[in-house]
Symmetry: C2
Subunit: 519 residues, 2 copies
């Protein structure tokens, strides 16, 4: 602190690009001797607003003591922040204190257990999209909502607010189909089979996907092994018009962008509350223009949903919000006792999907069966398909090779990958400690190992399951193989395995948990 009289600095600052990559966080650099810094009482790490020519961004302030980075007449911006402003170096620029987000008052009311209004959620989604929230503030919103819980009208308000935070596609057709699984089951890549089958039938299914939040691979992460998934809204439209479907990431399309920002906090914190999940899924689907939606809720002892009671509650919530938004929504409850298919991680899951599409006799039967049943239910959205006939139509499309042809067409249209991702070459195997039958596979633990091994960031990392539920194993026989691309990840995964065990349970045939769902 000093006693300098407050002054309005006369000379404006000029913009400089600082060649530091700070990813999703904008950083502004001011020299400690800069007149504005001294006059306006800024502090390192405080949030500032930067304006020039009508453009405006928020950034975190770092104070510089080295004039070769920025001098006292310059304002530096990190690479991504500089790009957002779209101005040349040397442009005159203004900096001011950023006001805290106004809707933090609503977040505080939520912390106190209050119910929030539609207006509150709108303000929160808007300010999040506008990057007015720090990660800490978003964490407060997410944890407060997850814990106090959102009632079904609040979930509806949040969903609407997230839809309104971005663009909304209109396909100008009466039937725009989509499907979504709530997640928690590793290897569950049914979308990459359902979309080609449904699109091959001619039904419009412009599926947009999220990246993984807490799982070792999302559909977008996996499809990226084969093709470009970051499409512009224009490219996406063009693709869907021609192909009747797509397998693209929703984020770049500016659909429900508030959701993407929130996911960047949910992911490291491992938050996955029912209300936020329903809002996140339905906001993306409504923004993407879906009219008919199939939701898959897997149930099992290590799935996200562990009891039928809980699955039914979640189904009611999906139905309430979906109906209120004018969606035609169906929920099916599926077998979530173990991972689907054999691979866990983008490259391995792509292998499984391609085996099913190619009618390879080695293809994992559970992935094929589940995908056909889901595709069948989606096809029955078509008024011309009789109830109960969907499955047979789906199987015909798959067996005839029309689904494979459609996948190849989608890959070609989205943009095939030039380089192939290799499977991680650093491996170890986990062996059966005794002879018996596999009576349990922990979804959560296998997913964690695949993540520790580097998935989904490293496409070739993951877990390859060599034995599934009910299969007989001999002592010393391998249960699964872990693949990593980098030494550090290999060590992490291995240490995790040593600490937490294999995730497999070996016992007798009668100990295999019973199947208590539709299929």
């Amino acid at each position: 602190m000093d006693e300098t009289k407050p002054t309005s600095p006369a000379a404006p600052l000029t913009l400089r690009r600082v060649a530091i990559d700070t990813y999703r966080e904008n950083v502004a650099y001011l020299h400690r001797d800069c007149a504005v810094y001294r006059a306006e009482g800024f502090q390192a790490l405080s949030k500032v607003e930067i304006c020039a020519n009508g453009a405006r961004i928020l950034a975190v302030l770092n104070v510089v003591d080295d004039a070769s980075i920025v001098d006292e007449h310059q304002l530096g911006l990190s690479e991504q922040a500089f790009e957002q402003l779209r101005l040349a170096e040397g442009s005159p620029i203004q900096i001011d204190h950023a006001e805290p987000p106004r809707s933090m008052d609503a977040v505080r009311r939520k912390m106190a257990g209050e119910r929030l209004s539609a207006e509150d959620f709108r303000a929160i989604a808007f300010e999040i999209t506008d990057h007015r929230y720090s990660k800490m503030e978003m964490a407060a919103f997410l944890v407060a909502s997850a814990q106090a819980g959102l009632d079904r009208d609040e979930v509806l308000h949040l969903t609407r607010a997230m839809v309104e935070s971005g663009e909304r596609l209109d396909w100008q057709e009466d039937l725009v189909a989509d499907k979504h699984c709530i997640g928690g089951i590793p290897g569950n890549r049914t979308s990459m089979l359902v979309v080609p089958i449904v699109a091959a039938h001619g039904m419009l299914i412009p599926k947009t996907s999220s990246r993984a939040i807490t799982s070792p691979a999302g559909t977008a992460d996996t499809m990226e092994v084969l093709a470009e998934v970051n499409l512009t809204p224009e490219a996406l439209h063009e693709l869907v018009r021609h192909q009747r479907g797509c397998l693209a990431w929703g984020g770049t399309a500016r659909l429900a962008p508030a959701d993407d920002v929130l996911i960047s906090v949910e992911r490291p914190l491992g938050i996955d509350a029912p209300g936020q999940m329903v809002a996140s899924i339905l906001a993306k689907k409504v923004a993407a223009g879906a009219t008919h939606l199939l939701i898959d809720i897997p149930v099992g002892p290590t799935a996200k949903v562990r009891h039928m009671r809980e699955a039914l509650q979640l189904r009611k919530l999906f139905e309430y919000v979906g109906d209120s938004l004018g969606l035609h929504l169906e929920v099916i409850i599926t077998d979530g006792r173990q991972p689907i298919g054999r691979g866990i991680g983008p490259v391995l899951e792509t292998r499984d999907v391609m085996q099913v599409l190619e009618n390879d006799p080695q293809a994992p039967a559970d992935l094929r069966q589940k995908s056909l049943r889901l595709a069948g239910r989606v096809l029955e959205f078509d008024p011309d398909v009789r109830g109960g006939q969907g499955y047979d139509i789906a199987r015909d499309i798959l067996d005839s090779g029309r689904a494979l042809a459609k996948m190849n067409a989608l890959v070609a249209a989205q943009g095939p990958r030039r380089e192939r991702y290799a499977l991680g070459e650093i491996t170890y195997e986990i062996n059966a400690p005794q002879t018996g039958v596999v009576t349990g596979i922990d979804n959560f633990l296998l997913a964690r190992i695949a993540r520790m091994a580097g998935a989904p960031m490293d496409k070739g990392a993951g877990v390859d399951l060599l034995k599934k539920l009910g299969e007989a194993v001999k002592q010393g026989e391998p249960l699964y193989r872990v693949h990593a691309q980098f030494n550090a990840d290999f060590k992490f995964a291995r240490a995790f395995n040593e600490e937490h065990g294999s995730g497999y349970r070996i016992g007798t045939a009668d100990e295999v948990p019973k199947l208590y769902v539709e299929f």
Copy 2:
């Protein structure tokens, strides 16, 4: 992503100081072409661990594209991070992925509404102290605990864990007194009067204070107007031995450091939950070696505690945790209907305190009365003081000038300020809209205005109350004056006033709310 084979980089990196001030957040800078960066699969903004010579710190990674900041053989550290490592530039240094804090599992269980164990709280406090938590993760812990609530045993565990996170003073005396107000009442600077009075009596009162969390001034912020408050543990000990008291900030003394880190997140989020409050207060007091503690809970319509029922619950919680920790703890419930004294903000509150110490006829009577009563209760901890005599002893000490002499001695010993902080020169007044009697003053709103005006960061900023509860006012007469040091803050405060009103209610004498507390 590329297909480079994983390699263990042969040449170690060398340390470089990057002249960027990132305050409480350690930042590490790696060049994009650095072999380690490529081989180990780091990402911008990911958390890394940096090791050299047994020392170890955590930092957030920024990726640099300019070799003049760091080249591909260097690892750069921001100024504070560099200092923590205590190594020369050019030292060889290692970087690795930082594991996420293990105790986040406990935080997730708390989010799910579970009760945490003593071991959980110990792990959380330890990892927070070790800087393993990001701000986002701390926000998750705080919000989850605030919302699910902590039961009284959890509060006890958290308190113990925070005490164990740092050093603990032992004064080797049977009676070590302290006092603390839970806050929420602007201008309530009684500690700066109670400590000189009690220390002048000869009772040991090594008061350590926090800085403001959500208020416009804490005792540490205000005492800093007169003297140094950042003392080393050695200096603090020396001072207390000679003076029988002190008015220092607890943070630098490494007392319950986990609490200081948490406060840096609570403050911007405005979290102030009962369990965390009790744990924070008692951990600091126990770590500071207190054996006898007086807690002041103000109650009023705009105080933190609004109803007597709530005050009694809080008192029980203080008593339970205090007794379990072996503290002799007394709670008194006081008048929290309006700010105490006239000034709000460090410089203004210092003026009020000095007027009381100097027996100035202009001194605010409420501040004097409350301080004497609190000091009286503390003095009664002395077995030689009869119950009921404390107040008279306190008044004698104040009126005789012995309290002022003690304050001067404390200032001289802690280190008097060389430069004086001036009162903010940019001012505006808020005037009475009608003639009548002041029937309400909103503590919360007045505190917000003082904060908007720049307090406590700008010592001279704040609000000077010209009328208090029950006083008659004429239309147009000023109710209070707002002082700011910087233009931006002045604009903020004024805009806030325009949006939210004055915070004063004018009515008739019979509308003044009744006093329903001890004094």
